[in-house]
Structures are given as structure tokens and as C-alpha cells.
């Protein structure tokens, strides 16, 4: 049986992944990084299952740790030796690709960032993922939405419900 597929723009998938990460419990900054890395992972032919797994409770640490570690490397702190734990997570390269600067994951788990070279690999016009994953990401993202109440419907947006002027 053929699996149902979803073809979307990079931005909508990035947004979807970011919301899913927030819904899964990641703080805002890490969730945003996950969305950026996620589309690079897909664009580089990575397995969408890696993204699904990262969003699971068991592996959420990757969403929390990798961007923080990369941010730490960018800080160039003295006396700090930051490395990814082996085995290198399949999303690590994508996190580096999403940086504006040239960045590489080395074999020993260290990350090299060249602050003077601005480069970001181009992204395709479309990305295709399974509807199964999209449904999972949407369900996680929906956890960040506030259920509607009559009060929020009437007052939350500051506008009325009809505009027949």
C-alpha cells in the first residue's frame, strides 16, 4: 500500500517542526533551531524518522542539547571543551547547516564554526514527507494552541465578528 505523502514549502515545514518541538516541551529558542535544522535534514536526504524520534520523550534531549551546545561553541568560551556525545546524532550536521556561518561536525564530536564565512546551503523549493509524520507534528504543535473560549473569541483578537460597513 502506498504511503500518503505531503509536499510542502520549506517555511511551512520549518514552522510545523518548530511548533511540534514546542508542543513536545522544548523551550522557544531550541524549538526554533529544531525547525531550522529539520528542514536541512530533510533537504539533505535525511530520514524523517529521525525528526519523529527527536520529538519523542525518549530523545527530546537532542532538541534540548544540540542547539545549546552549538550556541556554546559559538561563544568561544575558554576552558570549555564542548563535544557531542558519541554516537553523533543524525541531526547534528543539519543543525550546523542551518547556521549562517560555515560549521562542521568533526569525527570526535567537536564542532568547528568559522565566524568569518557566511554560508548556508540552498534549500529546495519543495520538501516531501509522509502524512504520518505531518500528522504527528501537527498533533504536537496543537498542544501549543489555547483552546477557544467565548471570551477569547469575542475579546482576544480585539475585533468584532462582522464587518458589513
Amino acid at each position: 500500500m502506498t504511503q500518503a505523502m505531503f509536499e510542502g514549502s520549506v517555511n511551512e515545514l520549518q514552522g510545523l517542526l518548530s511548533k511540534a518541538a514546542r508542543g513536545a516541551g522544548a523551550p522557544a529558542a531550541q524549538a526554533a533551531r529544531f525547525g531550522q535544522a529539520g528542514v536541512y535534514h530533510l533537504a539533505q536526504g535525511g530520514d524523517e524518522g529521525d525528526l519523529d524520534a527527536a520529538l519523542s520523550e525518549r530523545e527530546l534531549d537532542c532538541i534540548l542539547d544540540i542547539p545549546v551546545l552549538i550556541q556554546g561553541v559559538a561563544m568561544e568560551g575558554e576552558g570549555i571543551n564542548l563535544r557531542l556525545k558519541p554516537p553523533i546524532h543524525p541531526l547534528a550536521n543539519a543543525y550546523c547547516a542551518a547556521l549562517p556561518q560555515a560549521a562542521t561536525v568533526m569525527q570526535d564530536g567537536s564542532i568547528s564554526i568559522d565566524p568569518d564565512t557566511l554560508q548556508r546551503p540552498p534549500l529546495p523549493a519543495r520538501l516531501t514527507v509522509s502524512m504520518r509524520s505531518v500528522t504527528l507534528w501537527q498533533a504536537l504543535g496543537a498542544k501549543t494552541f489555547v483552546p477557544e473560549t467565548e471570551q477569547s473569541r469575542l475579546a482576544g483578537a480585539g475585533a468584532g465578528l462582522t464587518d458589513n460597513d
Partner: protein
């Protein structure tokens, strides 16, 4: 490679002055506004707009296609007009049907593509789109004016001039989506195309073409020709709500680049040693035009109308002595300094006015208003450096006591109903645990509180406190992007989102702000802008448009 010396300039107004909500909520469009930049480009290329398809019934329902060549590419607006029952007409995001729907298409659509768009565009958020679809939009009629113009044209007369002047648009857009939403093209696909490199350029092109469509539609249904002066004044309305506010917080580099371009323009103009006779005449005319514009700016909300009325009187006082100002050295600076003794509205109106005659000096700054590289934070090495940066750039964030209910009264969130952005009362409504991270000030203060007394490597601190990742990044952006942050508490009871909306909309080129609440406004875009058959005539003189000009 030639080196170009930057023009002389006065010091920029500091971020602590510029990036306050109250001032942002007093901004006016300038010649650096995106619509102005686009219209100059359209005029310089003498763009010709064609209408290869017009398939409308006598009541104005059907579809049309407009095409133009710009920067070496062809773009088409596909407009779909439908019969909307009055009870379904709402400008809210939660709407599910509209009077009209639009797609800006990459190229010229064939019959199959037109059919696809006609089927999907009216569904808006519920539809799916392709990478050939660059922008998605929809608009509702100003029923009163549309019906009146149709009636007048059908009677062989022209509409009531007062109604044209006072309402100023036949339709208003209620969303203009770009950058990949619902499957349309990512901005990355077009950001290097000539004429579309600037922020929101594709969206502004769409809006200007929709305006043309509304003119054609009313003439079609009315079976008559609207006077050119009326069409010139009929822009395109827009209803804007809270969704626009988070954009400014979530795109700090863009906000910085927009602000710094405008501030640099002002600083350059203030450094002009003297005005020549033409420049004096131009400022004089602009001051008079602004006065007329203010006279024509009337809104139903009493509080805002009172503000406009005050501004009219203050502007008359302010401009009374402007000739004397212009006789002094550095006349724009003199005008600017005298404005500082008056209201924020006067200060911002004067700033926008003095920019207007000096396109040669400032128009190039529009090229710096994008964000081609992404955010490039400058991290300090240790926690002491971070503390120093916070103290230097974020005093505004440290001042409020966020444990006080008034300082944390509001929370921003996304409703499950069509993902409409909304604002809630933290102490009266559920959902604050799902708050959107727009509380930058509170996050900075929390970070500041958690910094260790002894200096530690920043990376070590971050590893121990990953929850501060966002705040650390915002602090690290401040050095390179000094105008990236709004220097106010965005969750305070006193925070008025309308100020953020006005700031962003003024960069679009909006005028006639007509707030319907503190979080929702109507505006007019393209009022006074060249019509599609006027692009060869220059057409850059429509700052603060007035009726009949």
C-alpha cells in the same frame, strides 16, 4: 572597486528613544516605506500592466488575470470574485469566506492553472498551493462605498466625492500571505530577484495590483467610468490584527534594519547644511499637504479622533514657524529639534516630512532593509560580559517588577481557532502556560537574576541554564543590531499592540490609521499611488495623499 564615502550625518537617535512603543505607535509612512520603494521601481522600469483575462458576470463575480514584467520576470495576479452573504463577512482570521481572493502567480497562468487557483484561492488557509503561487490574499468589500459607486455609475453620474474621500477604498485585504504559507513559494525562491529583494516587495506588488482590480470591478458592475481623481484616491484598505505584532519580536534583525535605515536617513538629512530655494518650496508644500491630509483623516473612534484633532492643531502651530527654521544652518536639524518640544505625533510626522525631498540622499538605504544573512549574534565570553551587555542595552527590561500583576497582566497566545493570534489576561483567563515567547523583557530579567556572582564561561552557564538560550541570544544580538528590540514590557497591562501594528504598517506605507481597538486597525494602502496606466509618469510624489491631488 570604487569606495563611496557615506554622506555626512548627525548622530542617530538612540534606540532608547526610538524603540519605545509610544513612539512606534506614532510613526508615519516615509519614502523608505516598502510601497514607495516598489512604486519607484515600477515607474523606473515603466512597467506595463496587461489584463489578459476578464471573465466576470454582470454582477462582478468571476475571475480576472493581470500580468506585468518586472526585473526580468513576469508576474500575474489572479483575482477571484465571489458572492458573499453578508452574515459571512468578517475581517477576522477566523473567517471562512471572503468577497474576493487573490494569488500572485510566478509567470502567466494557463487555463489549467487559472482553474486550479480559482478553486483553491477562495479557500485561503484551507487550500493548498504550489511554488508558482508567490502570495495569497483575500479582500472584503466596503459594502457601503462599493454599492454607492456602482449605483452612481449605473445612473450615469459620478459617486459622492465626500464618500470617496472619507472611506478611501473599495475593498480591504484581510490577509496577505507570503513565504511558504499553505504551500506557496518560500521567500528564499524569489529574494534574489530584481525588484523583489526588499522586504514584503511581492506582498506590496500584490496589494497594488488588487487595488487596480477593485477599480476595474466597480466600473464593470457599474457599467461606467470612474473619474481618474477618484481612482487615484481609492487605495486598498486593510484590516490588521494581532498577528502582525509578533512578527516584529520574532524578526529582530529585520526590525533593526528597517529602523536603522530610517534613522540613518533622518540623520543624513539633518546634516544638510542649507536648503536651496527648491527644497524650501518643497518642504513648504509638504507641510501644507500634511495639514490637508490630517484634515481628511477622520475616524469613528472618539479617542483616536481626539488625537488626530490635537495633531491637526499642533501641526498648524508647528509649521507656522517652519520658514524661519529653514533659513537657519542645518535646517532639517532645526526642524527636528523644535519638534522634540512637541508631541510624539508631531516629532514623527516632522521626521517623515523632512525625509521626503531628499531621495537622492536616502533612497539607497532601502537596499539595506532586508536580512540576507540571518541573525549573527555577538556573544560575550563570560557571564560578566553578559551582565555588562544586559546593563548597557537592556535597562528597560530590568526595571519592571514582573511579579507585579500589572507588569505581567497580558499573555500572547495562538488560539486553536484557525490559529488566530490573541492576547489574554493572565489573571482572568486560562492558557497562560501556553504563552508565546514575546515576553523578552521578562526573560532578560530572569537571565540577569540567574547570572552567577563569580565570572564563569558563558558556555558553561548556558549548559547549566538552557532555558535562558533565547534571552542570551537576544542580548548577543543587541551589539550588532541596536534597534532590534522594542524597549517596553510587552506583557504589561499598559502594552498596546496597536503601537506595534502602526510601526510595521508605516513601513509598508500605510496611512489613515483607523484603530478599532487597542489590538486591531484598519488602514489604507496605495492611496494616491499611480494607477497602472500612470507608471511612465514618475509617480513618486504621494506621501500623505490628499483628495483631488
Amino acid at each position: 572597486m570604487k569606495d563611496f564615502a557615506a554622506p555626512p550625518q548627525m548622530p542617530l537617535r538612540p534606540p532608547s528613544d526610538v524603540m519605545r512603543l509610544a513612539r512606534m505607535g506614532a510613526m508615519f509612512p516615509t519614502r523608505l516605506s516598502f510601497l514607495r520603494v516598489l512604486m519607484r521601481r515600477l515607474a523606473s522600469e515603466e512597467v506595463v500592466v496587461e489584463r489578459p483575462v476578464w471573465n466576470m458576470c454582470e454582477n462582478g463575480f468571476g475571475h480576472a488575470v493581470y500580468s506585468l514584467k518586472l526585473g526580468g520576470y513576469t508576474y500575474s495576479l489572479v483575482a477571484v470574485s465571489t458572492d458573499l452573504p453578508p452574515e459571512k463577512r468578517t475581517d477576522r482570521v477566523i473567517a471562512e469566506a471572503w468577497d474576493s481572493a487573490y494569488v500572485l502567480y510566478d509567470g502567466v497562468p494557463g487555463a489549467a492553472e487559472i482553474a486550479r487557483i480559482c478553486a483553491s484561492a477562495p479557500k485561503q488557509e484551507a487550500g493548498r498551493f504550489t511554488q508558482r503561487d508567490l502570495v495569497l490574499s483575500r479582500a472584503n468589500k466596503s459594502v457601503r462605498l462599493f454599492a454607492h459607486v456602482v449605483e452612481a455609475l449605473r445612473a450615469g453620474t459620478q459617486p459622492n466625492a465626500d464618500m470617496i474621500r472619507d472611506i478611501g477604498y473599495l475593498m480591504r485585504t484581510t490577509a496577505v500571505y507570503g513565504n511558504g504559507k499553505f504551500g506557496i513559494a518560500d521567500r528564499g525562491l524569489i529574494e534574489n530577484r530584481p525588484a523583489l529583494e526588499g522586504p514584503f516587495a511581492a506582498e506590496m506588488l500584490t496589494v497594488w495590483m488588487i487595488r487596480s482590480f477593485t477599480h476595474d470591478l466597480v466600473e464593470h458592475v457599474g457599467q461606467g467610468t470612474l473619474e481618474r481623481r477618484f481612482k487615484r484616491h481609492l487605495g486598498i484598505g486593510n484590516s490588521t490584527g494581532l498577528g502582525m505584532a509578533p512578527f516584529l519580536v520574532n524578526h529582530p534583525v529585520l526590525l533593526n534594519n528597517w529602523m536603522i535605515a530610517r534613522e540613518t536617513g533622518l540623520a543624513r538629512v539633518r546634516a544638510i547644511p542649507a536648503f536651496d530655494a527648491d527644497e524650501v518650496a518643497r518642504i513648504t508644500a509638504l507641510a501644507k499637504r500634511a495639514a490637508q491630509h490630517l484634515e481628511e483623516w477622520s475616524v469613528p473612534d472618539p479617542e483616536h479622533q481626539a488625537r488626530v484633532t490635537r495633531l491637526r492643531a499642533d501641526w498648524a502651530d508647528f509649521t507656522h514657524d517652519i520658514h524661519a527654521d529653514m533659513a537657519l544652518p542645518n535646517p532639517a536639524d532645526v526642524i527636528h529639534r523644535r519638534a522634540q518640544t512637541m508631541s510624539l505625533d508631531i516629532q514623527e510626522l516632522a521626521a517623515a516630512m523632512v525625509l521626503e525631498p531628499f531621495g537622492a540622499l536616502i533612497d539607497g538605504l532601502a537596499e539595506c532593509m532586508g536580512d540576507p544573512f540571518g541573525a549573527l549574534p555577538v556573544y560575550p565570553k563570560d557571564t560578566s560580559g553578559l551582565r555588562a551587555d544586559i546593563n548597557a542595552c537592556f535597562a528597560w527590561a530590568l526595571t519592571p517588577d514582573y511579579t507585579c500583576t500589572d507588569e505581567s497582566r497580558q499573555f500572547w497566545y495562538v488560539s486553536e481557532a484557525k490559529q488566530e493570534p490573541r492576547l489574554g489576561d493572565r489573571y482572568a483567563e486560562d492558557g497562560a502556560h501556553l504563552e508565546s515567547p514575546l515576553d523578552i523583557g521578562r526573560r532578560i530579567k530572569a537571565l540577569h537574576s540567574d547570572l552567577p556572582k563569580t565570572t564563569r564561561p558563558l558556555a558553561e552557564f548556558l549548559m547549566a541554564h538552557p532555558e535562558h538560550g533565547l534571552a542570551i541570544e537576544r542580548v548577543a544580538l543587541a551589539k550588532r543590531y541596536p534597534y532590534a528590540e522594542i524597549h517596553d514590557n510587552l506583557i504589561a497591562r499598559t502594552c498596546l499592540p496597536i503601537d506595534m501594528l502602526r510601526c510595521k504598517l508605516s513601513f509598508f506605507g500605510a496611512s489613515k490609521f483607523d484603530p478599532k481597538s487597542d489590538r486591531w486597525t484598519r488602514i489604507t494602502l496605495c492611496q494616491g499611488a499611480p494607477l497602472r496606466d500612470e507608471l511612465g509618469q514618475g509617480g513618486d510624489d504621494w506621501w500623505l495623499p490628499v483628495f483631488g491631488a
